[in-house]
């Protein structure tokens, strides 16, 4: 079943066109990565979906209903963890409860999830007292506690060192079933996209458009394959650099 449909998104900022007729669909429960180089407009797409930015053209629909402005369909996890330094970890992850006035329920749910997210015992600590990985997990818990159907993850592990990043990716793979949500991940890391996603949408060009799409098969997922620097990695690189166009991608892959 189609969960999200994005059609012809066009967005300009200060006279510069960032997105040009971007369109894609996401199925219910699917994990889709938007992959592209830095500055290609990936985060802009997420900000449009959350309603923080308004597109000049285009349409976004979830479950067949058109969405405009700030909405409850998406839960956004920004690039930096953006934990409020003045709030404890528990208060931070209950942000949705603070905004919508159901704080008690949010607290109860958060406490239940602290051990799952590896944060047990840190409820009353401040973000400055956590390690980088723990901060990201806290930010992820804050996002997961939203009553939204679709999680938008904007380079969630981008600020972490390689080892912690790998650990967090492994952790997210384990969390997928438990979360049971549709996820859109923005990343510029090919390995991360391949390891985590069901499907990768590749943004290229300036202004950006969807330049290609790759479905990740289960056999391709896994650390062992990533270490081999395989076929898909090369194909993605060709998409980004414009070596192949979406129309003949199948042939190129087969060939």
């Amino acid at each position: 079943m189609m969960k999200l449909k994005v059609e012809n998104l066009t967005f300009s900022y200060e006279g510069r066109k960032i997105l040009d007729q971007v369109g894609f669909c996401v199925k219910d429960g699917e994990f889709v990565s938007l992959l592209g180089p830095s500055g290609s407009g990936k985060s802009t797409i997420l900000k449009i979906l959350t309603g923080v930015l308004a597109p000049q053209e285009g349409r976004v629909a979830a479950d067949g209903k058109e969405i405009r402005g700030v909405n409850q369909v998406f839960a956004y996890m920004p690039q930096n963890d953006l934990l409020f330094p003045w709030k404890t970890v528990l208060e931070n992850v209950c942000l949705y409860g603070y905004v919508h006035g159901n704080l008690e329920e949010a607290r109860r749910e958060a406490r239940e999830n602290f051990p799952v997210f590896g944060l047990a015992g840190y409820e009353d600590k401040y973000p400055s007292q956590l390690s980088g990985g723990m901060r990201q997990r806290a930010a992820f818990l804050r996002t997961a506690l939203c009553r939204a159907d679709i999680l938008l993850l904007d380079e969630p592990f981008g600020a972490l060192d390689v080892i912690t990043r790998g650990e967090m990716q492994d952790w997210l793979v384990k969390m997928r079933k438990r979360l049971n949500r549709t996820v859109i991940l923005v990343t510029h890391d090919m390995d991360e996209a391949i390891y985590l996603s069901d499907r990768i949408l590749i943004l290229n060009g300036s202004p950006a458009k969807i330049g290609g799409e790759i479905v990740i098969e289960e056999k391709d997922r896994g650390r062992e394959w990533l270490y081999d620097q395989g076929r898909l990695r090369r194909t993605i690189h060709q998409y980004i650099t414009g070596g192949i166009s979406p129309d003949n991608s199948k042939e190129r892959e087969d060939g």
């Binding site: 900000k47 959350t50 309603g51 923080v52 700030v70 909405n71 409850q72 998406f74 839960a75 956004y76 920004p78 930096n80 953006l82 409020f84 330094p85 003045w86 709030k87 942000l95 949705y96 603070y98 905004v99 919508h100 401040y126 973000p127 400055s128 007292q129 956590l130 390690s131 723990m134 939203c146």
Partner: protein, 263 residues
Amino acid sequence: MENSREGADKMKNRRKTDLIPAVALAGAAVLWELAVRIFQIPGYVLPSPIQVARVLIQERAVLAGHGLVTVGEALAGMGISLALAVALGIAMDCFPLMRRGIYPILVVTQTVPMIVMAPILIIYMGFGIGPKILTVVLMCFFPVAVSFCDGLGQVDEEYVNLVRSYGAGRWKAYRLVKIPASIPALLSGLKVAATYSISGAVVGEWIGAQKGLGYYLIRVKNGYLLDKVFACVAVIIFLSLCMNGLMRLYQHMALPYLKKNTL
């Protein structure tokens, strides 16, 4: 273990550094005392620190009575300044055009000497507590308003976008993000204002009052009782430092996250 030893060493060093001003002050007092004794300076020209200390003890009840009045005026003025600064700060942050219009006026008001403004206030408002509180407000409002306004302006817009994406409206974004994020800046302004507040009240009382440290100061000055003048000045300094200390204590208690403690 290593960390705790490092922390203890840092604390020890900090205590040592904290003692330096006290030692310097004590040294200056000793020199002052010696100078008065060696050069036999009369009390009506320059009283010695011991004479001032003696007056402080003898006049403690009178000074405490006048001091309470001054502290009351200072606290009232600080409270009004805080309320006005928060309201105006939010309004200026909400409406950039208003900020552009009001901010320069705020700066200009600070160029008018308070000693000129105080008599005008007394002409308009009489000899009651009103003009004294207003003098404090005029002295304290500016640092509080400017620091709060700057604090609001420096909040990372990403935080605001985050709560907006969670469904928060404009006011909720202020309540959840902008105001709490600006509290450290507000407290910086309050610390400066707290130090000014006692002086503000004294200036107001100086021009016309029936009680308060400013009134006491004028009375003893007119009688050439210089030891009492110095004693009163010492009380004013002490109270100003207390007000500043109060703000620091509040910051320490209310903003525990500012204490450095990272993994």
